[in-house]
Amino acid sequence: MKKLTLFLSVTSFLLFTNCTKEIEFDAQDIAPRIVVNSLFTNDSLWTANISRSVGVLETTSYTSINNADISIFNGNGVLVTTLTDQGDGLYTSPTGATPVADELYTIEVNASGYTSVSATNRIPTAVQINSIDTVSSTNSDGQTILETTINFQDPPTNENYYMVEVLVKGTWIDFFEGDTIEFREPLEISCNDVNVETVNRFNFGGFENTYLYLMLKDENFDGEDYALTFSVINYAELKDLELFGEIRLVNTSEAYFNYLKSFNMYQRASGNPFATPVQVYSNVENGMGIFAGGTLTYWDVGF
């Protein structure tokens, strides 16, 4: 009996002991690569944030890449502009150098110690806006909301992708320093449109279908007039503070749309052991990140 007990004890120990050990990492390439984050629109300077990736075996933190050579070429291979290092990995073009719609652009980034990367994208044609209407109303819960409807003409034949966000702008005083600080922040908006992607949806203050920005594509309204309706949720508070806002409609490239959609999916799944893994979209060859364009239309709105 004693021998059987010993045998069972040893077996149980062996059975329930996990074994871990270090193994060789047989990876093709884990050297750090250049990361390009550049979202360009027709109304702003060229801007790119350049940093390095961190290989899975590295223990260093994320760092910017300074003194990189960044060039923008048009579809004919002609140099359009170069970007200048502003510090902390941020590079901008000189004043007057802004992207134009329908032009194909290629960014090339070279930095010492890294494999050069490049990416190509274009700003889509500007969208014809038919109208934008805002009206203040009270919803069924007695909350004051600002309902906005943007009516636009979707260009036919091409696939078109749209982003909509509402920013609040204002200033606040730093009481310690006495400085006036400007701020621009996205507002929570509620939308029930069936064509809106729900990947970045969340619940807020009793509102289902809340977003910080809307994403939709013209799959179901290609070439047609389309009316997109959404509501600014904290309108009552904004009115009290006498703030100003900006409604922005971005006609984005497919790369822009795919990146944001996959990025949101990744954030939602991150840390959830029951979720399937997500690959975040990138169009940067030999590197990571996103280089993508969009046409911006915006309206000022007073709250």
């Binding site: 062996l14 050990k21 075996l57 971005v250 990025f263 029951f274 975040v280």
Partner: protein, 800 residues
């Protein structure tokens, strides 16, 4: 009407094409037990014509001459011979005696591998299953099948099978003709099949005969024993993990018999003393106030096979069989605590757990309608269900206020339930044709993931809500016709048509699936074979690749989700060598369409989304080469198999639309299984497996990604794990050696066997999971988690 006329003409042609003189028919059974012998060879030495018995032991042989010399044989049994006069049809029930020793003979007692039209298949003997060393001493049919070429095992210790690049849901597992939906216990470490209750195991990987349908990649046809018609017997075993007992015998001798076989684990029983000890230590003894907590938990599984069969006559038989099994993992606890001021006492009861299981029942009637026509009518029920949940009840008693109570309940359920009726016929008009035809219908009910949350207390009505996917229903129906046709001595064909359809709400999905197999004898010992199969599958299994719980969901085709289809071609060569060795080599190519997978980022658990919104559809293909050398007779027997294969998937919305390796794409796979019988008292078994690493997804870089619609000085960034491509990394190779020895003792009415085994004899640390970790020196390394080092096992089995 036209089709019926054509069918009748065909039957007439078959009848007239052969100037039959007489037909012998009956059943082939084991003399000692009355168990049917499936695949016994019934051969006329005069005309050189023969046939084999079907899955119920039925045979029929129509001969042209006026007399015959019949030889009936099957491996492991003494052949019987009969001299017959052919003046009229003869009903000839045959009983074969087992032989004590398997001789090193060249007289083959069953169809040689090169003779069979069926390619891409193999049978596994129960004796071999019991003789081979296995994981923790639990003899397992699935673990043995995993040793054959073309069958991948999945992760360490798993009882899943992945056949020729197909998914786990693409295997039609039949227990006495009834489909099983989850054939595993203990999170996949053991299968539900109790070897003591099984008569025959056949695996088909390609060249599917028309009588099979509904799955793309394989058919695992398992036939239960029917119970000893002559004498009462029993067998059982006591092992480290479980014990089992089988009893069988006649209720009315030679008329009615039964078999009951049960198994239960006792991990929970073994753990209970340790849990009780912990509870005593934690409670702090009697009379203490403060916190008083007890916990109990454990895991167990049980299963039960039962069968009754009644013989009305030599031509009519009724069977009632069932399988019931359950796994349960539970963790219960109580807790009682007081506040610091001792103004209230709270008592809590917690109950959490997972449970899953199958329940199967079948009622079957066999009838030999004519000496050439056999019928089987079956009604079956099959159910699989899975539940995970918990309940928390708490009651707080206050000194100066009314008491309060609260109850929180959470459950997640999924499952599938089938009701089936079918009719199968076996028609043997002459020795050149073995015709099978039949039809059937299954009514499916699917519960593809339902969440229930209930909150209640004694002060308000609370919440009771159910969300998730709603129940779905469907009718799956089929009909088939196949003919195993011996055109000449060299050339034999198996041609057939399988028609099936699924009615789902508004959509009806019909499918016509041609089947073809051919065998051409190059000489008396070798043959070339080829086959083509078109298969359709109306059920999908949603599998989450990131977690290993039995939470896989069976879902049907719907108005939005179409069936899966496959086409498989195979070409092979088979030969019987000297001294009983058999050799076969096969190449295959399979394409699969409309496969489903979870979209990126979806959570299969606790979500209110309907499952149809969580999936994406794509395709796959697989191809490879399989080599098998097998020896079935002699003191030393076994096999070695090698597989070289590729398996890929392509989904437009996964991996950016690029093809990627299937998770179980294993380039090289070797399986070696050998037993050697020294004498009646001692035999040993050796198993060695090797597999190159499976594919896995590893994020090899991280970076900061822009989170928003613009890039500027204050733009927020978030860390992103960069995955270059799905399944672009390979796990380390897997290999393992298992050794076993069986010591037998036989007395007059009692046989006993002590089995000692060593799983993973050289303690290879095979990777189960890979992860990155920062070590003590601050450096990050890739690490693997292994599950099982060397594991000894012992079991005691007995027969009486």
């Amino acid at each position: 009407m036209k089709k019926f006329t054509l069918f009748a003409i065909l039957i007439l042609v078959f009848q007239l094409s052969f100037a039959q003189k007489f037909t012998i028919s009956g059943t082939v059974k084991e003399a000692k037990t009355g168990e049917p012998i499936i695949g016994a060879k019934v051969f006329d030495l005069k005309s050189k014509k023969g046939t084999i018995s079907n899955e119920y032991g039925f045979y029929s042989l129509t001969l042209p001459q006026d007399s015959a010399y019949i030889r009936v044989s099957y491996i492991g049994y003494t052949a019987m011979e009969y001299q017959l006069d052919g003046k009229k049809d003869i009903a000839l029930p045959i009983e074969l005696l087992t032989i004590q020793e398997l001789e090193e003979v060249t007289v083959t007692a069953e169809k040689n591998i090169e003779e069979r039209t069926q390619m891409s298949s193999f049978d596994v003997s129960i004796e071999k299953i019991k003789a081979l060393p296995v994981f923790l001493g639990e003899k397992d049919i699935i673990k043995t099948i995993q040793l054959f070429p073309g069958v991948q095992s999945g992760s360490e210790g798993s009882s899943g099978i992945y056949v020729r690049g197909g998914g786990q849901d693409q295997n039609l597992m039949l227990l006495d003709g009834v489909p099983i939906y989850n054939a595993t216990h203990l999170f996949g470490f053991f299968s539900i099949f109790n070897a003591d209750a099984i008569n025959k195991v056949t695996m088909i990987k390609g060249g599917f005969p028309a009588r099979y349908g509904g799955r793309l990649s394989s058919v695992l046809d398992i036939r239960m024993k029917e119970g000893n018609m002559k004498e009462f017997h029993g067998e059982g075993s006591v092992g480290l993990i479980s014990s089992k007992l089988s009893l069988e015998g006649p209720i009315v001798k030679d008329k009615t018999s039964f078999i009951v076989s049960g198994r239960r684990t006792y991990i929970d029983v073994l753990a209970r003393p340790f849990i009780n000890m912990r509870n005593r230590n934690q409670s702090g003894g009697k009379g203490d106030v403060g916190s008083n907590e007890t916990q109990t938990g454990g895991y167990y599984f049980w299963d039960l096979n039962a069968k009754i069969n009644h013989k009305f006559s030599e031509t009519s038989r009724l069977y009632l069989s069932g399988y019931f099994g359950r796994d349960r993992f539970y963790n219960d606890g109580t807790n009682e605590y007081t506040t610091d001021e001792d103004t209230s006492i709270t008592q809590q009861n917690n109950s959490n757990g997972l449970r899953w299981g199958n329940a199967i029942a079948a009622l079957r009637w066999n009838k030999i309608i004519t000496p050439k026509l056999f019928m089987n009518l079956t009604g079956t029920f099959s159910q699989y269900e899975f539940t995970v949940g918990g309940e928390n009840q708490s009651t707080t008693t206050y000194q100066n206020a009314p008491s309060t109570s609260q109850n929180i309940l959470f459950n997640y359920n999924s499952g599938i339930q089938d009701w089936t009726v079918k009719a199968d016929f076996d028609y043997r008009p002459n020795p050149n044709h073995t015709i099978k035809f039949g039809l059937g219908d299954t009514y499916h009910t699917f519960v593809p993931g339902v969440n229930q949350i209930a909150l209640s207390n004694n002060t308000s009505s609370g919440i009771d809500t159910t969300f998730g996917s709603s129940r779905q229903y469907g009718h799956e129906h089929w009909a088939y016709f196949e003919d195993d046709w011996e055109i000449s001595e060299r050339l034999k064909l198996n041609i057939g048509l399988h028609f099936s359809g699924f009615k789902a709400n508004q959509e009806w999905y019909p499918s016509i699936q041609p089947r073809f197999a051919a065998r051409y004898m190059l000489n008396e010992n070798s043959s070339l074979k080829m086959s083509y199969s078109s298969m359709t599958q109306f059920l999908h299994l949603l599998t989450n690749p990131t977690i290993g719980l039995p939470t896989d969901l069976w879902v049907p085709v719907t108005d939005r989700v179409a069936p899966e289809y496959s086409n498989q071609f195979a070409l092979g060569y088979a030969q019987t060598l000297t001294k009983g060795f058999q050799f076969s080599v096969e190449g295959y190519y399979k394409d699969m369409r409309n496969l489903i997978a979870y979209k990126e980022g979806v959570s299969f658990f606790g979500s209110s989304q309907d499952w149809q919104d969580k999936i994406t559809v794509g395709n796959g293909n697989s191809y490879g080469l399989e080599v098998l050398v097998e020896k079935k007779v002699g003191k030393t027997s076994g096999w070695i198999g090698y597989t070289l294969s590729w398996s890929n998937r392509q989904f437009d919305s996964l991996n950016f639309g690029d093809p990627y390796p299937y998770i179980y794409d294993r380039r090289h796979d070797i399986g070696l299984a050998i037993t050697h019988k020294f004498n009646d008292r001692v035999d040993i078994g050796v198993v060695w497996v090797f597999g190159s690493g499976y594919a896995t997804t590893l994020a090899q870089q991280t970076y900061l990604g822009v989170s928003g619609l613009s890039v500027g000085a204050n733009t927020p960034y978030e860390p992103v794990e960069h995955i270059e491509a799905r399944n672009d990394y390979r796990m380390p190779s897997y290999h393992r050696l298992d050794l076993g020895i069986n010591l037998h003792k036989k007395k007059k009415n009692w046989e006993s066997t002590w089995s000692f085994g060593l799983y993973n004899a050289y303690s290879r640390q095979n990777a189960f999971y890979l992860f990155f970790e920062e070590g003590n020196n601050g450096a990050r390394t890739l690490n693997q988690l292994s599950l099982f080092p060397v594991l000894p096992s012992v079991s005691y089995s007995f027969k009486f």
